[in-house]
């Protein structure tokens, strides 16, 4: 240690605190001038302390886990009783469903019901969302040779997705039902009304041309109504929701925002043509009736 006189040492000791206070002021200014330096030093210290804090956190997590498990064990009795009651309830509904299925089969047999042809389908993965600002469509990679045709129906696990519009060699383009050019005839399940579901590039297609004295009911299911070829009746589409009074929209069941695997169905309905009814008089088109008055005077004259 450097030998110093006692008075000098006392003076130095008295100077330490003011110097440190000035240093603190300097640190405040430095922290304001160079914020990244503060961040770096703090992160360095936090990195050093992180393992120690990990040691602190670990027993807390274990204790919390243990407490939660003990609480669960205390609730097992109640949970068991609830599950037993629910199971009895479900067994009752199972019996009801089985009885109804039997009755349905018997009634269909009595009515000589012609079952719908079971459709064939091709499964593919949605590989690209080709939606732009003005269109809503996706590209599905599927084996086109397995028999995918234009206008076939695409469904995902929960509902209608759209229709096939273009066919490539290994992929098909599917126009989503939210696209502005998509018009799909639908039936409303509760009010039994018919309407057209018109896409408008938003996530919820509008409902147009519904009967004004039988308006759609909030929350009712919307299914296809089978009025066009290639689309059978009863495919689930979505649910009615009123954005504001007098403006019903359809919330699609299919998760159109993130499609993953879809199925392309071939219902083969284009082959079904209406039979000719004997004695049916074809309605004359207006063009025919207009041509007659002009042609006959000319022919006679």
């Amino acid at each position: 240690m450097i030998p110093l006189s006692i008075t000098l040492r006392q003076a130095l000791e008295r100077l330490v605190l003011p110097i440190l206070i000035v240093a603190a002021l300097g640190i405040i200014l430095l922290g304001q001038a160079d914020r990244s330096l503060t961040e770096r030093v703090r992160m360095g210290l936090a990195d050093i302390l992180a393992p120690a804090y990990g040691l602190v956190v670990w027993p807390q997590e274990q204790a919390r886990d243990l407490l939660g498990r003990m609480r669960d064990m205390g609730r097992i009795e109640i949970e068991n009783q609830r599950l037993r009651a629910e199971n009895a309830n479900l067994r009752h509904w199972y019996d009801v469903a089985a009885a109804l299925a039997d009755e349905n089969a018997a009634l269909k047999a009595n009515l000589h019901w012609m079952p719908d042809p079971s459709p064939s389908f091709v499964t593919g993965r949605v590989v690209r969302d080709t939606s732009g600002l003005y269109a809503r469509s996706v590209l599905v990679a599927a084996n086109v040779d397995a028999g995918i045709h234009k206008d076939e129906i695409v469904l995902d696990g929960s509902g209608l997705v759209g229709r096939v519009t273009e066919i490539g060699s290994r992929s098909v383009r599917v126009l989503l039902l939210t696209d502005a050019s998509s018009r799909i005839p639908v039936r409303l399940e509760v009010s039994h009304g018919a309407a057209i579901m018109a896409g408008d590039n938003s996530g919820t297609p509008r409902l147009i041309y519904y009967s004004q004295d039988n308006p759609p009911v909030e929350g009712e299911r919307v299914v296809t109504n089978g009025e066009i070829d290639t689309m059978p009746a009863g495919l689930p589409v979505g649910q009615i929701h009123y954005v504001r009074p007098g403006q019903p929209v359809v919330i699609p069941f299919a998760s159109l925002g993130h499609l993953d695997i879809v199925r392309v169905f071939d219902y083969g309905r284009s082959a079904v043509v209406p039979p000719d009814a004997p004695g049916r008089i074809p309605v004359r088109r207006p063009a025919d009736s207009f041509s007659l008055p002009f042609s006959s005077p000319l022919g006679h004259g």
């Binding site: 440190l20 240093a23 603190a24 002021l25 300097g26 640190i27 430095l30 304001q32 804090y53």
Partner: protein, 187 residues
């Protein structure tokens, strides 16, 4: 007469202490600062206790004030500086604010220590209340000025109240420590 023959008449001259004794004295002298540093580290750890962040300044100011009054050798200015730096680095406020506040409290305690150390504990508590109120107000003002908007005062009031509440308890603990394991004379 040489000092070796009659050491009892010259109490300023003692045999040079052994290494272990010096280490013992050093650890006893450094115990208050070490305990305060430990408290700062523990209160910054993620325990998730309510009021943990507000308790830290109270404990720091109480400890610095108490030891600066009763044993400045254990709470010297450089040690206070290091403790303030530690708190500022572990916190997220503007750097240097707590450092400045704690140095000023240390300075006040040092300058008044001859009066404070003879005062009754209740008087000392009142003095600490005033000092920590001024310190908290300074901290609030500095943080508000440095972040260019008025920080809500309620958190600082809570912090001051916690500090006031914890000071008597810490006084009891510290004076017990100061008589036993933190006493360098007992080495």
């Amino acid at each position: 007469m040489t000092p070796d023959q009659a050491p009892e008449f010259q109490p300023g001259i003692q045999p040079r202490p052994s290494l272990w004794r010096r280490l013992d004295m050093l650890s006893r002298r450094g115990l208050p600062a070490a305990l305060t540093g430990m408290a700062v580290l523990l209160l910054s750890a993620p325990f998730g206790l309510p009021g943990q962040a507000e308790l830290l300044p109270g404990i720091l100011l109480s400890s610095v004030f108490f030891w600066s009054v009763f044993r400045p050798a254990s709470m010297s200015s450089p040690i206070v500086f290091l403790l303030g730096m530690l708190v500022d680095l572990l916190g997220f406020g503007p750097p240097g604010v707590m450092l400045l506040v704690v140095l000023l409290v240390h300075g006040v305690a040092l300058s008044g220590r001859y009066g404070f150390s003879r005062a009754h504990i209740l008087v000392l508590w009142l003095v600490f209340d005033g000092v920590s109120l001024a310190a908290t107000a300074l901290q609030w003002g500095l943080i508000s000025a440095l972040s260019l908007h008025l920080v809500p005062m309620i958190a600082f009031a809570f912090q001051w109240v916690l500090g006031v509440g914890v000071f008597p308890l810490l006084c009891v603990v510290f004076s017990t420590l100061g008589r036993s394991i933190a006493n360098p004379d007992r080495a």
